[in-house]
Symmetry: D2
Subunit: 89 residues, 4 copies
């Protein structure tokens, strides 16, 4: 299942984030902490892209092939929205 890959990755990222928290608790060098946070960020972006890919290959295909114009519009609008947001975070 695709969910399994997503879940596994997210749990790895959770572990990574806990590592960052430990670094702060142990008073690690600021720049090292920032770099680890950026690594967590990059990993999260990869998961997002993977989830979007699954979404495109399931819900989006169904919506576009379906007869519900409103649903199709909603589904396409959402993709533009997450794309636009992705340029901001």
């Amino acid at each position: 299942m695709e969910n399994d890959t997503t879940l596994r990755r997210l749990k790895t990222i959770e572990g990574h984030l806990r590592g960052v928290i430990r670094m702060v608790e142990e008073d690690s060098y600021c720049i090292d902490v920032i770099r680890q946070i950026q690594a967590v960020d990059a990993a999260l972006n990869k998961v997002s892209a993977q989830i979007l890919e699954n979404h495109l290959n399931s819900c989006v295909i169904t919506a576009i092939k379906g007869n519900n114009a409103k649903e199709r519009e909603k589904v396409l609008k959402e993709i533009t929205e997450v794309f636009e947001m992705s340029t901001k975070v």
Copy 2:
């Protein structure tokens, strides 16, 4: 035509960028230059989102409704790719 809006926006951004070049020529304060470059960036991201929206509502719908499985796959793959790239720039 949707292209007209895109073109107009891109030309405005070109003007903005020329303004940034002028700022550097006139030895403006570094931080002010960086802020203007970030504004150009943000404007470019908006244009990208608009182009993607047009694309979803035309080519993507056509490809998904069409019978060419390879074409459909290609079109969906591209969206994931530009999404993933958008998190990196």
Copy 3:
């Protein structure tokens, strides 16, 4: 201590991320999951900025006022590096 604020924020983000994991486990709608991941991203960026601010007001000032040219160079180089990376994640 500034570390306390950073720690508290990171632990809040960890809770947020666990919420995202739960959403995936419960098979939530893909777009909702992506949006929550983007919110986690945005929160992490804020923490990074806060850590950088503390760093500038402590280590960076010390390094620049100090007599160790190599240390000063290193500290300034690092800031450019995390800045450049921040435009990529």
Copy 4:
């Protein structure tokens, strides 16, 4: 002079952007246009990082070594601000 490198890069980017405008005028494939816009974005980010580096090695050093506490505070605050903004565009 450092400004020369910045200027040359910005003018190259201006040429790149004009190329993107031409692509839209010639009705190029949406995804290709988006990819070129993302390339422009990435190039702009590099210029920003370069400008910041120059800034750190001149104004910031001067401000921190100087006796004007307010100026020093302002200069450090600005770096945090452009860093935070860079995570958003």
